[in-house]
């Protein structure tokens, strides 16, 4: 296969495999936070802040995969 095809396949595979982990992580963070808020509605602001922070960390990993995919595609 020539480099152009490999490049396209590499781009698609990088982003497709790279977001599986963060997707599972964000799902679990969301579900645990909502059940924590359900158990203790008074602590909702604290839990929400912690949840948003944790989701940001998890999303950053998906963004790393996206950046590598973009680098492969555009250079």
């Amino acid at each position: 296969m020539d480099t152009e095809s490999i490049r396209m396949l590499a781009t698609a595979a990088t982003i497709a495999i790279g977001v599986i982990g963060p997707a599972i992580a964000i799902g679990r963070i969301g579900s645990e936070s909502t059940s924590a808020i359900g158990r203790n509605p008074e602590a909702a602001p604290k839990i929400q802040t912690a949840m948003i922070l944790a989701i940001a960390f998890a999303e950053a990993l998906a963004i790393y995969a996206l950046v590598i995919a973009l680098i492969i595609k555009f250079t």
């Binding site: 802040t49 948003i52 950053a60 555009f74």
Partner: protein
């Protein structure tokens, strides 16, 4: 469809210094923020009008949020300028990058066409500079709060081998923070720009609307996350090691 380029394109040079389209828009964002600040300052009254009221409410909410992380109001007021500046600068840069004209107004550089304006955070230089400023400030504020010896002890801990290893990992994690801050913001904004360009190219009418809303939301969330993460790391840097 114009070329999608990973790096910000150069518009003109001043001597040996290249001015890129992202730099141009970030300067405009700076001017807008400065104008807003000066207007607010000139219209300050003891009995606030609506303009001042909006900013007082926002400031109160932000200080309350920082209180919940830092613990007391004095600390919040001390670290408010850094956190609020990071938030407002990134917010204005992201939102100004959504206006019509960004990416579509082009200049002709020799034989190629280059967009005149580009979202500032879609340039890795911008995000890397902010990330370095944030991480350096976190460490400097930590030293200013608890002293250089105690701050250094967090990284070079000779109590036992495990603590030593953890300290070295903490040191490496400071550099990982720089990378993670810059790439999180860059990835989000650049991907958003590419998405908007491709959507506008595929279906120019109506369909880009939900994506514009998404980018509005993402721009605000990323500014908030950058500022909040800086705040949380400052909070952990100015407290003594629990040990």
């Amino acid at each position: 469809m114009s070329e999608i380029s990973l790096r910000a394109e150069e518009i003109f040079r001043v001597g040996n210094y290249t001015v890129t389209n992202a730099l141009l828009l970030s300067t405009l964002s700076l001017v807008a923020l400065a104008a807003l600040g000066l207007t607010l300052k000139r219209r300050l009254r003891m009995v606030p009008d609506m303009f001042q009221n909006v900013f007082e409410t926002a400031l109160d909410a932000l200080l309350g949020l920082m209180d919940s992380v830092l613990g007391d109001r004095k600390k919040s007021e001390r670290y408010l300028p850094l956190v609020a500046t990071i938030f407002l600068f990134i917010l204005f840069s992201n939102w100004l990058g959504l206006l019509p004209g960004v990416g579509s107004i082009v200049v002709h550089e020799g034989n190629r066409t280059v967009p005149l304006l580009r979202s500032p955070a879609a340039d890795l230089n911008f995000t890397l500079a902010l990330a370095i400023v944030a991480v350096l400030s976190i460490n400097i504020l930590g030293v200013a709060a608890i002293g250089a010896a105690k701050h250094a002890k967090k990284f070079f801990n000779f109590k036992n081998p495990i603590e030593f290893f953890v300290g070295i990992l903490e040191l490496i994690s400071e550099f990982a923070k720089m990378v993670s801050f810059s790439f999180r913001l860059f990835g989000n904004v650049f991907a958003g720009e590419v998405l908007l360009t491709i959507m506008a190219f595929l279906v120019p009418y109506l369909v880009p609307l939900p994506f514009l809303f998404l980018e509005l939301f993402v721009g605000m969330i990323q500014a908030f996350i950058f500022a909040m993460l800086t705040l949380v790391f400052i909070a952990s840097a100015v407290t003594e090691h629990h040990g």
